[in-house]
Amino acid sequence: MNQQDPRLSPTVLEPTHETSQFGGLLIVSVIASAAGILFLLAPDMGWPLRIFLTAIILLTLKYWGSVMVLVAVQADLFFREPPRSAALQGATGLFTVFMIVALLMFINRNRELLKHAASRPLSAILSLIVSVFRGKIAFDSGKAVREILQMLGATVRAIALLVGCVFVSRILLGTLPNRRTLNEDLQGWMLDETPVLQCSLLLTGVIAVWVVCHEISWRQLTRDQARLYLRSVFLTIHHADLRMIVRGRLRQRLKAARAKKDQKARFFLQD
């Protein structure tokens, strides 16, 4: 009869300090996957050094997220990948890059969980592990199902984004002239031929998108922000003059105050 639209029934929001039901599992997955990829790097290096470097990078996950992992992978590629190698071209190269960026995404996504876990004292973490094994922690199955659905949705979106990013990069690399072909491409461009022309068209497109984005971001300003912007632009332009006037006024006021004080002192001494 009087059925309520499910969209109108409000979701009850949880306080920020509430954590995920799968927090522990996610943390372990992040650490395991990061450690896994780090162990694959630099096979020529001795094990103690590799373990040491892996441990150092894992310790930085809390603050730096995936930055140090990216640096490590880039360093490995820089030293080990031969120039003009065909090993990372084609489907293999795309898949490798896809996996690495997916790992970076996964680490970044769970950085807050790592932070939260690392902020707790060791004894609390140990007691949590013990209580998990003893089954003392209440498991909210409804919440868990909701979280699993959310995670699935997020994973699908992330994969779509990732595939898009890697393919766009591949296309860009294919379109942009590289160092070896630059001279030939420039000559071709002079003769009104393709790659550099495509590149310049692409750059024009990027600039146009940037202008549009910039315009959108400016149009998001609130009324107060717009007023403040005008005020600060005015102040920036006339800063030197206004500062001179303000300082002059303050100096005059100080002088007047001193003169008044001296006058009072003289009056007191005369008495």
């Binding site: 590629l77 190698s85 890059v97």
Partner: protein, 568 residues
């Protein structure tokens, strides 16, 4: 863009550059993919901010009421419910929403800070909070922090949703009120003394056991002989006992956190006493005084009179504009912190430009100056100042101090160290406080009728040396057969007894507390000696014992006895 995104972009750009130089396809592809990923996240995030925040609407209900103004009670907890609605697209994760509450409100378990973790169209969150002190409470709105899933971008906004409440002081319902029957409950005109002795009406109310101090005339001799113990006749009291409250709101009583101010203690006792008196049909008036002057609340009875008194106390408890003080780094930092909390969008570098500054050379001083420029811009925007005035805020310390104090005070900050300098205030204010109190007491005596009880709520402990200025007025009131009681709240909320001075442990807090109690006890002993010598009663606490002291004074006035010891 957060630091994480910048740090990720840096190796990606470097890797792309090196990859192009060395023609390493894998390195190039990986680095470019990371850069494209960052760009894609930025586009998604910007579109989210553009579409989602624009349509976000909030509705807050406090104790089930959504009106922009209302009434709350100090010391009681309130239930707050916030509903948020968005457009058809809804609002996605991760959005942190915090209902910004002023210092006068204590939120239980930080439940005013919630996170949207999945896409919602409408949502609700509830929390409970306790209102700490009487005065005013303003809930300004919601602070929104929008983040992308990866933590690369962050947008902070403040969505105004203002609700203002008058906070009435807490009071205690004093149990077992005396059964008082009054046929006529009107105050006699000046010069007309309807009763020779107050509380000795013509109609018998009840017989009770004799208590030392009862007038011998009221002893029922025949009944006493029959029962073999002294019995007293209790008559109806026909003349109401008028209670006149004198409340000190000087700066010393306003400093401290809400709920911990001396003024809060005084309000509690005054409201409790007024409630008890009005329940017995006695009129209650008040004289409220501070540095701004004297305000008189006419004596009134009934619930209406009680609420009028509470309204007056509530208005009086609102901290006025602070006394201009010198500028300190802490004041600037606190004001900047509050500005970042309540006006994050005005601190955005895109709109709050800072002109090029060469001096000062020192990086710390340079950073402080930049922070001051930013704060000056926010204050200038809020108070609608001209650009010249804005720049004056940067270079004129007293002006900046005044506006920063105003800003903090209006943002609901209590009068603590950054807002006012507390040290040595008591000594400076003591003399003027005594003069104002003395004139208020003299004025009340000149307007008084029979059977008045004057209760002075003042921080006299700190200005005990200036007590001689008050003595003539007190003596005059006592000479006119009024009763005078003093309630001096103690800064530690603890009655300064022998036991309270015992050192519980050797921790710094306990040692400081004990030292404070010893000092308070010495001051209290001196004050009590001076005032009791002339016949006034004193309570050194803002707790229930003070309420009972005042009520016992009213009972004495009603029965016609002068003192519990039988002196008439």
């Amino acid at each position: 863009m957060t630091a994480l995104a910048r740090w990720l972009a840096l190796p990606a750009i470097a890797g792309l550059y090196l990859g192009i130089l060395r023609e390493q396809t894998g390195l190039m592809l990986l680095s470019l993919s990371v850069l494209v990923w960052l760009l894609a996240e930025w586009l998604l995030f910007t579109s989210r901010v553009w579409f989602e925040l624009r349509h976000l609407k909030f509705e807050r209900s406090v104790n089930g009421r959504t009106e922009p103004s209302g009434i709350l009670w100090a010391g009681r907890s309130v239930a707050v419910e916030v509903r948020l609605r968005s457009s058809i697209l809804g609002i996605g994760s991760i959005v942190r929403i915090r209902d910004v509450v002023p210092e006068n409100m204590e939120v239980m378990d930080q439940e005013n800070d919630v996170t949207v973790r999945s896409r919602v169209h409408s949502a609700v969150f509830r929390y409970r909070a306790k209102v700490l002190g009487a005065g005013q409470l303003r809930l300004p709105g919601f602070r929104i922090v929008m983040l992308d899933r990866q933590g690369f971008f962050r947008a902070e906004r403040f969505i105004a949703c203002t609700q203002s409440f008058r906070v009435l002081p807490a009071f205690q319902q004093v149990g077992d009120p005396e059964p008082i029957v009054k046929r006529i409950n009107s105050q006699p005109q000046h010069g007309i003394h309807r009763l020779q002795r107050s509380g000795m009406g013509s109609e018998l109310l009840e017989l009770r056991e004799y208590v030392a101090g009862d007038p011998p005339k009221s002893i029922a001799w025949k009944v006493s002989a029959r029962r073999d113990k002294l019995m007293t006749r209790q008559y109806e009291s026909e003349v109401p006992v008028r209670l006149q409250l004198f409340i000190d709101g000087s700066i010393g009583t306003r400093t401290g956190g809400f709920g911990l101010r001396l003024l809060d203690q005084m309000n509690f006792v005054a409201a409790s006493v007024a409630k008890a008196a009005i329940s017995a049909g006695d009129p209650v008036g008040a004289m409220l005084f501070d540095e701004r002057g004297l305000r008189r609340v006419p004596a009134a009875t009934g619930d209406r009179g009680f609420h009028r008194l509470l309204d007056a106390l509530s208005d009086f408890s609102v901290n006025p504009a602070p006394i201009p003080d010198r500028l300190t780094n802490r004041l600037v930092e606190t004001a900047s912190g509050v500005a970042a909390d309540q006006f994050p969008e005005l601190l955005d570098d895109r709109v709050n430009h800072i002109p090029f500054l060469l001096f000062p050379i020192s990086p710390w001083a340079h950073r402080r100056l930049r922070e001051r420029y930013r704060l000056a811009a926010v204050i200038a925007q809020l108070y609608r100042m001209s650009p010249a005035k804005q720049l004056q805020l940067v270079y004129d310390d007293p002006l900046m101090a005044t506006f920063a104090q105003h800003f903090l005070s209006q943002s609901g900050m209590s009068w603590m160290e950054p807002v006012v300098s507390i040290r040595n205030r008591g000594f400076h204010d003591g003399m003027s406080r005594m003069e104002i109190l003395s004139s208020a007491l003299a004025r009340a005596v000149s307007q008084a009728r029979d059977n008045e009880v004057f209760v002075v709520f003042a921080d006299l402990l700190e200005c005990a040396p200036s007590l001689s200025h008050l003595m003539p007025a007190v003596k005059m009131a006592l000479a006119r057969h009024h009763r005078v009681a003093f309630v001096c709240p103690s800064p530690t909320f603890i009655r300064p007894t022998e036991e309270s001075t015992v050192i519980r442990s050797l921790s710094a807090e306990d040692l400081l507390l004990a030292a404070e109690q010893i000092r308070t006890r010495e001051l209290a002993a001196r004050l009590q000696f001076e005032l009791r010598r002339i016949g006034a009663t004193v309570s050194i606490s803002g707790e229930s014992s003070a309420i009972h002291l005042v009520l016992s004074q009213m009972a004495l006035a009603r029965t016609g006895r002068m003192a519990a010891g039988g002196v008439r």
